[in-house]
Amino acid sequence: MSVGGAVAAGVPASHENLLLRLAVEHFLYEEAALLDNWRLDEWFALFTKDARYLVPTTDLPEGDPAHDMMFVDDDYERLKGRVNRLKSRYAHREYPSSRTRRLITNARLTRVDSDEVDVEASFAVYRSRNEMIAPYVGLYRYTLARGTGGTFLIRRRRAELDLERLTDHGAVSIIL
């Protein structure tokens, strides 16, 4: 999976790759629908046990969690902790829950193997709460594990923000 502004070449536009992209887009849209509807347990079930969910800081989209500070660096257990937290009425920043709307577009397959697919896609995630709407804009980089029958699980999910600073957002309190 490439990171941090490095533009990976897309795969050739073969009939097979275009069909695969449709299946990947279908998966991303279903995932977004789960998040926008706060169906977090079902969303968490989309991850492999060795999954990683990453959000680099705004000044370092290429950040490497091994030695850089990130906004989010979740392995499977911490991601589970994040989901449990967001379901709690004591996660004050998200209680009552914000409303979110995810626009995902420009999906590009950058690697197609028999067992994995790398995907890049643009996102705009709008979060509304307390009379305020703040858009998170950036680039997703996914590594999806291919299952049978065109299904996928998420092995790597990285949300690189184009913002220079979190402004009205204050925090990254939702799943990006």
């Binding site: 959000v55 680099p56 800081t57 705004t58 000044d59 370092l60 950040g63 969690p65 030695h67 850089d68 500070m69 990130m70 906004f71 989010v72 660096d73 257990e77 911490r78 902790g81 994040r82 449990n84 937290r85 709690s88 004591y90 996660a91 004050h92 920043r93 998200e94 307390n130 220079e164 600073r165 979190l166 402004t167 009205d168 957002h169 204050g170 925090a171 990254v172 309190s173």
Partner: protein, 463 residues
């Protein structure tokens, strides 16, 4: 209810209430009461005074020497509203230059960080070397001989000084030296700085948390040395830690970081809370860490006691230090890592925050991983802690929209030896703020009248 004062030079209009500066804080030591008038958080007039009387004459943090390791390395910083270049010039000096061309004012440096041989203004092409000296003007024949003979330099702030690798500026005149300004806060700073010496000293890691909070800037000073809110605001974080500990079959920590803690009001408005805590890679392990990592922290703890003596060594290892360098700089050496955080008012109701994480240059890989894990889990906009702090501060600011509720209460712990869940630190900050905002040189006393004398570095380390 306070009596409105008419015709006072500094009458402030907080919605319908008139308050004069002397009455912004009401303290009754005998009764154990301390209250702050909420117009301090909402008034544009007060914010104007803060710019002049607080930010205009306090030492303000710019950066750490590890951020500019090589000649030519630079970082752009905005401090007190001034665009600055923090750099190591080609002659190896760390300098602070004001990032404004002498010609017409444009920025001579327009990238956030990098390495430079010179800075050339893009507007008309004037160029400066890394000491700030003007070295080139396009078409100099257009200028007089006198002009061309002048030695000209980018302007530097009137006061630039450093302490233990931290660089500060002060835009005031006739200000105390940085060392005198920091005063007894240096004891706490030294403990943290010395503790990493065997590991090569501290360096800033890449990845700055840059965010805003829609609340008055002083609320973050209050929040940063306040353990009273921990149980209520950070319940989901505590629950996560408990779940994790139980999943890993580890014992609960034996120290209670609320009861074995102190709140401190130091000289010149610097304040702190100290808590005995586990999970410090220097050097008191968490029960969930590997045996090897625990053994390494035990070795470090012994090493620090050998180098610095048992008393200071154990303070370094076992005690977390949450220090605020007045007015707007957090120096937090904690159980979730060591970081600095600086914040600026954008308006009475909004602040901008920058946060930098520090690591020892030569920390063993497993401990470095525990350190970053601790930091990212709690801290910053994506952690399990900070978002709820932000929510609390923003919630207070919304509440301040009702001027009928005039006062905030900061009285907790006025009549006992103050712990970290008391509010002595907040009172210390407010007392200094109150003195400065009235145009005084500083508070005569930042501590409580009834408080016993506390020794900064001699907190009892319990087994």
């Amino acid at each position: 209810m306070i009596t409105p004062t008419q015709n006072n030079e500094y009458c402030l209009i907080a919605e319908s209430t008139l308050v004069d500066l002397a009455n912004l804080i009401v303290e009754d030591a005998a009764a154990g009461l301390f209250r702050v008038h909420r117009s301090a958080m909402t008034s544009a007039k007060i914010m104007e005074l803060e710019q002049e009387r607080i930010f205009g004459r306090s030492w303000l943090y710019v950066g750490h020497d590890s951020e500019v390791p090589e000649p030519g390395d630079y970082r752009r910083r905005t401090v007190g509203g001034r665009p600055l270049i923090f750099l190591r010039s080609r002659d190896q000096q760390i300098r602070v230059l004001i990032n404004s061309c002498l010609h017409r004012g444009a920025l001579v440096c327009r990238t956030d960080s990098g390495n430079a041989n010179a800075f050339q203004c893009f507007y008309h092409g004037w160029s400066y070397d890394t000491t700030g000296k003007l070295i080139g003007v396009p078409d100099p024949d257009g200028y007089s001989n006198n002009f061309n003979k002048l030695e000209q330099f980018l302007v530097t702030p009137p006061n630039v000084d450093s302490y233990r690798g931290m660089y500060f500026v002060n835009f005031g005149y006739k200000v105390p030296s940085l060392a005198n300004y920091l005063d007894d806060a240096r004891e706490l700073i030294d403990l943290t700085m010395d503790s990493a010496e065997p590991l090569g000293g501290w360096k800033v890691v890449r990845g700055t948390a840059k965010f805003r909070i829609r609340a008055n800037w002083k609320l973050l000073a209050e929040n940063s040395t306040d353990n009273y809110h921990f149980r209520t605001v950070h319940r989901t974080y505590s629950d996560y830690l408990t779940d994790r500990r139980e999943r890993l079959g580890a014992a609960a920590p034996s120290v209670n970081r609320i009861t074995n803690s102190q709140s401190l009001a130091l000289n010149n408005g610097h304040v702190a809370m100290l808590t005995q805590s586990v999970g410090r890679t220097i050097a008191n392990p968490s029960p969930v860490w590997s045996k090897e990592a625990a053994a390494e922290t035990a070795r470090l703890r012994e090493q620090l006691a050998t180098i610095y003596g048992e008393e200071r060594g154990h303070q370094m290892s076992d005690i977390s230090r949450f220090l605020i360098i007045f007015p707007n700089h957090a120096f937090h050496d904690t159980q979730s890592g060591f970081r600095m955080r600086q914040w600026w008012p954008l308006s009475p109701g909004e602040m901008e925050v920058n946060q930098w994480e520090f690591v020892p240059r030569r920390e063993r890989e497993d401990l470095a991983a525990y350190r970053l894990e601790g930091a990212v889990t709690f801290q910053g906009p994506g952690g399990f802690g900070t978002p709820d702090d932000i929510e609390a501060l923003e919630s207070c600011q919304v509440g301040f929209g009702a001027p009928e509720v005039e006062w905030s209460d900061i009285s907790r712990g006025m009549q006992r030896l103050p712990r970290s869940d008391d509010e002595l630190a907040a009172r210390g900050f407010w007392r200094q703020w109150h003195a400065l905002i009235q145009g005084l040189d500083g508070a005569k006393r930042t501590g409580d009248l009834a408080a016993p004398e506390l020794s900064v570095h001699k907190m009892e380390v319990r087994a």
